[in-house]
């Protein structure tokens, strides 16, 4: 089945130790999103790629970076994780050029920072 896959599902890192979360999709969608979701809160958009074009949200800290080497894969790099970065990180995709398309979410990666 076409889907959005996130690895790992659970990630533990130490304060200040760089970590990379990965997302892959078999939907061949041209838009990929990264969201941060803290407990009992709504997902917060960090950035997205429209094909190779990177779009950063204005309030996303510089500590968060992203790479999209090809259509299928997108990575979230946290350069120096702090305790406040512990959260669920959700990857999503959207196909088509219109605004009427739904987003397809992966299962998320829960990040713990020790």
């Amino acid at each position: 089945d076409a889907m959005v896959i996130q690895n790992p599902r659970y990630q533990v890192t130490q304060f200040g130790k760089p970590v990379t979360l990965s997302c892959s999709q078999t939907l061949n969608h041209n838009v990929m999103y990264w969201y941060q979701q803290k407990s009992s809160q709504a997902p917060k958009l960090l950035f997205h790629y429209y094909d190779k074009d990177f779009n950063n949200e204005a309030d996303t800290p510089d500590n968060f970076q992203s790479r999209r080497p090809n259509t299928s894969f997108c990575f979230l790099d946290i350069r120096s994780p702090g305790l406040g970065d512990a959260a669920m990180y959700l990857c999503a995709t959207r196909g088509g050029s219109g605004s009427l398309n739904e987003q397809f979410f992966g299962p998320g990666t829960r990040l713990t920072v020790l």
Partner: protein, 112 residues
């Protein structure tokens, strides 16, 4: 930034009862979408309603949209224990363009 607010924040009902939750938003939209999130999981798209639509149905789900009041409601009829989840509304359009802007969510507990 969060555009919408959802009401109630939490809802507890018995299996078989209906669950209604409301979403309000602030700016003009192209469409409004509802998503479900089971505990510790990703979001699943439930239904999309366009700005020129007033009501939409999908199985046991009924969504209404009142653009004059900038509000939407989601009704789940004949709820089941498996409907226990958080439900988020998300708007598309306005200053946010094609991005989803989520409401705060409603946590629904369906007791067997």
């Amino acid at each position: 930034s969060q555009q919408g607010e959802e009401d109630p924040q939490a809802l507890s009902i018995q299996e078989g009862e209906n669950a209604t939750m409301n979403c309000s938003y602030k700016t003009s939209i192209n469409n409004l979408q509802w998503y479900r999130q089971n505990s510790g999981r990703g979001l699943v798209h439930l239904i999309l309603i366009r700005s020129n639509e007033r009501e939409k149905h999908s199985g046991r789900l009924r969504v209404t949209l009142d653009t004059s009041k900038k509000s939407s409601s989601l009704l789940i009829t004949a709820s089941r224990a498996a409907d226990t989840a958080s439900y988020f509304c998300a708007t598309v359009g306005g200053a946010a363009g094609n991005k989803l802007t989520f409401g705060g969510g409603t946590r629904v507990l369906v007791k067997p």
